[in-house]
Structure formats: structure tokens, C-alpha cells
Symmetry: D2
Subunit: 80 residues, 4 copies
């Protein structure tokens, strides 16, 4: 009878262990997916920032050129 009890406990634990290990694999899968999503999101964010830096450089160029234009206009007015 003690043996049957132990056998029942052992069988119950075996099943519980299987369930927890399955749950475990699923969690590891979710974790892996999330890590990929986060890495993808960070890469996209980095690419976005780099594109914005490029636009910022272009904007700097336009501001410089507008400043040259205002200087030329100022000279024209002064010498007229």
C-alpha cells in the first residue's frame, strides 16, 4: 500500500514536471520572440535616428545657404 502511494505520488510528480517543462519551453520561446522584437525595434529606432541626423545635416546646409543669401542681399542694399 505504501508502495502504491509512492507510485501514485511519483506518477503525479512526473506529470506535473512534464507540464512545467512544457510551460518552461513556451516561456523560453516567448522570451526569445520578445528579445528579437526588442532588438528589431532598437535597430529600426537607430536607423530612424541616423536618417534624422542626415536630414539635420541637410537643414544645416540650407540655413547656411540662406545666411549667405541674406548677406548678399545686405551687401546689395548697402552698395545701392
Amino acid at each position: 500500500e505504501n508502495a502504491r502511494e509512492l507510485q501514485a505520488q511519483r506518477d503525479s510528480l512526473t506529470q506535473k514536471l512534464q507540464e512545467v517543462e512544457i510551460r518552461n519551453k513556451d516561456l523560453e520561446g516567448q522570451l526569445s520572440d520578445l528579445e528579437q522584437r526588442l532588438e528589431k525595434s532598437q535597430n529600426e529606432q537607430e536607423a530612424f535616428r541616423n536618417n534624422l541626423k542626415t536630414l539635420l545635416e541637410i537643414l544645416d546646409g540650407k540655413i547656411f545657404e540662406l545666411t549667405e543669401l541674406r548677406d548678399n542681399l545686405a551687401k546689395l542694399i548697402e552698395c545701392s
Copy 2:
């Protein structure tokens, strides 16, 4: 003897189960952290996009005002 074997298996399974359940909790914790990080990252990205939209509106305003300025300059030249 059968009883002792069963007891040993049961004790072994109990320990294994504890280890896997601890691992499980840790994974759930990591998953929760990652989900928070991902949500935080998406919120920051959303706030960033909204700030950029505001800058875009301001830039539109400046372009409009520069266009008015060029129109006034064109009129001045024409009527001079």
C-alpha cells in the same frame, strides 16, 4: 526495497520540479521585464514621433513665411 526506490524517485522528481518551477518564475520575471521594456520603448518612440510631427508643423510654417517673403520681394522688384 521497491518502496525505497520509489521514494528515491519521488524525492528526485520533487527536487527537479522545484528547480524547474524556480526557473519558470525567473523566466516569467524576465518576460515581464522585457514586455515592460518593449512597452516603454514603444511609448518613447510614439512621443518622439509626436515631437517630430510638431517640428514638421513648425517647418511648414517657416516655409510658408519664406514663400510670402519671396512673393513680397518679387512684387517689390516688379514695381521698382
Copy 3:
């Protein structure tokens, strides 16, 4: 006979003098017109220059505002 010669010369000179004085008045009129035209042209040129100075100030303002915009964009990118 000498008297008649002198009289002829005097009459001739009188007529010549009238023609030159008429020519004179006409020249003074042309001179006055030209001086008015030149003054009007200079006034218009002055008004034109003043209008251009106003446009220059506005352009300076736009360049300043675009510089503020690029600074805000730079901060946004940096803090993202």
C-alpha cells in the same frame, strides 16, 4: 547812313537776344524737370531700399527661427 546801319544792327541784336532768352527759358524749364525727375527717382530708390531692409529683417527672423528648429531637432535626436 551810319545811323541806319546802327539801327539795323540794334534791331538784329534785339531779335537775337529775344531768341536766346526764349531758348534760355526753355533750358531752365528742362533743367527743372530733370531735377524733379532725378529727385523723384532718388526718393523711389530710397523707398525701395527701405522696403528691402524690412524684408532683410524678416529674412533674419526666419533664419533665426529655422536655427531654433534645427536645435530642437538636434536635441530630440540626441535624447532619443
Copy 4:
């Protein structure tokens, strides 16, 4: 006696005529100067207008390039 009177008148008219003719030459000189000044002023005004037209074209170019920049920024924001 009549001859002396006529002679005096003739001499007086001769002198008057000389004075008016000198005055005449001076007026013609002033007129010529003013016409030159007016033409120079109009040429300078024309050159000034042409330089301004060039600046206007450059300004148009800058506005166009800024518009391209805002379009690129808008696309970036939309696709992020």
C-alpha cells in the same frame, strides 16, 4: 547824337547777348550733366533689380529644397 544813342544801345545789346549766351552754355552744360546722372542712376537701378532677381531665384531654390526636406521628414515619421 542819334548815332551815339544807337551805338550805345547796340553795344549794350551786344554785351547783354554775350551774357545770355554764356548763361545759355552753362545751362546746356548743367542739362547734359543731369541727363548723364539720370541715365547713370537708371542703369544702376537696372543692375540692382537684376541682382535682386538673381537673389530671388536662389531664394526660390532654397524654398524648394526646404520643401523636399519637409517631405522627407514627413515620410520618415510616417514610416517609423
